[in-house]
């Protein structure tokens, strides 16, 4: 069994054969002593690339440093914008002190999905339930959307909305597979239901 002293002296022996730096230029490629360093191409090798190095100097990069004040290139307004008049309901996050001066007014919350959204906004954004409730509200909203379409007298052409024309033009094989899968699933369901009876 090798004692610790044996191992240490064996290493010393090996190191003693090499002076420091002796291996630098003697052409040993892949020798164990050479440190791994990233290979860098030369500028001549990269010169064929159009515009190479145009932003090498960090002063030319507009986003360096990331935070910079006062802001350049925009017309800086005097002070915060005047608050927008609220004509529709806007749900506000609990993590801010009230409504923002500017806000979007499209698709205000309504119906069952609106009720779920109002509940979601009582929780903070830090709480996963806030986002999960919003996702649930989105799915409920989808069903409400179909109801709206039917109520205004038009049946939504779901396949057209999903892009069936493009699928037929560009991906006939994929379409055939999906149709076959759909038929198989429906056929199996019908068969199983008939068997139960």
């Amino acid at each position: 069994m090798q004692t610790r002293n044996d191992i240490v002296s064996a290493n010393d022996q090996h190191d003693g054969d090499h002076a420091p730096g002796e291996h630098e230029n003697d052409g040993h490629v892949g020798h164990v002593h050479r440190a791994i360093a990233p290979r860098r191409p030369t500028r001549a090798q990269l010169a064929h690339i159009q515009g190479w190095g145009a932003d090498l100097d960090r002063k030319d990069r507009p986003g360096v440093p990331m935070e910079r004040t006062p802001p350049r290139f925009i017309n800086v307004p005097d002070g915060d914008p005047a608050p927008q008049k609220e004509r529709v309901e806007v749900l506000v996050s609990t993590e801010r002190p009230g409504r923002t001066p500017l806000f979007g007014t499209v698709q205000p919350p309504s119906g069952l999905s609106g009720m779920i959204r109002r509940q979601a906004f009582k929780l903070t954004e830090n709480d996963v339930r806030h986002w999960l409730l919003l996702l649930v509200a989105d799915r409920v909203n989808m069903v409400e959307g179909i109801g709206e379409d039917l109520a205004s007298g038009k049946i939504p052409n779901v396949l057209a909305e999903m892009g069936i024309k493009a699928e037929f033009q560009h991906n006939k094989a994929g379409l055939a597979k999906k149709v076959a899968l759909g038929v198989a699933v429906v056929g199996t369901a019908v068969y199983l239901m008939k068997r139960r009876r």
């Binding site: 932003d55 507009p62 892009g163």
Partner: protein, 160 residues
């Protein structure tokens, strides 16, 4: 993935990794199941894993891919032990515009070359489906609303 990158970079790893994919990354079944189909996390963080694991120690990871607002499981322990710098944000467009316009004028970059599809707004369902399913080699789609005027005559419309 990290293995491939390490092999390509002399076993060091990349200096900088950029995540330009976001929350619907393909490439890892478990991530796609937990993140996209069952939504147990806010999207598949596949590429975040690849970035953190493929970059060299002390390297930078730059994230611009969009993720959802809840949480994702990422190998933060690896990021800690490798001493990484993770930077991410929504692009602050307005301040980049002057410099980017200089680049376009100097011919260093030609953005319109990536546009592959021009579609009238009426066909938006098909345009979304083509883009979503990556049909017809679609990279970038432009929608043209009805009554949009012809492109205003410009001096450099055939820039290289």
């Amino acid at each position: 993935m990290a293995l491939h990158i390490k092999k390509m970079t002399d076993w060091m790893g990349a200096d900088v990794c950029i995540d330009a994919v976001g929350c619907e990354a393909a490439g890892n079944t478990m991530q796609t199941i937990t993140g996209v189909y069952t939504m147990m996390q806010a999207g598949a963080a596949t590429v975040l894993h690849w970035c953190i694991n493929s970059v060299r120690k002390g390297g930078n990871v730059s994230i611009v891919g969009v993720y959802g607002p809840t949480f994702n499981a990422v190998p933060i322990g690896n990021a800690l032990n490798k001493g990484l710098t993770l930077r991410m944000n929504q692009a602050s467009v307005r301040r980049h515009l002057p410099r980017l316009i200089e680049h376009i004028r100097a011919g260093r970059i030609d953005p319109k070359a990536i546009i592959t599809h021009r579609v009238p707004l009426e066909e938006v369902s098909d345009a979304y489906h083509i883009f979503s399913s990556k049909l017809d080699n679609c990279i970038k789609t432009i929608l043209i609303p009805p009554r949009a005027n012809e492109v205003r005559a410009v001096k450099a419309s055939t820039a290289a």
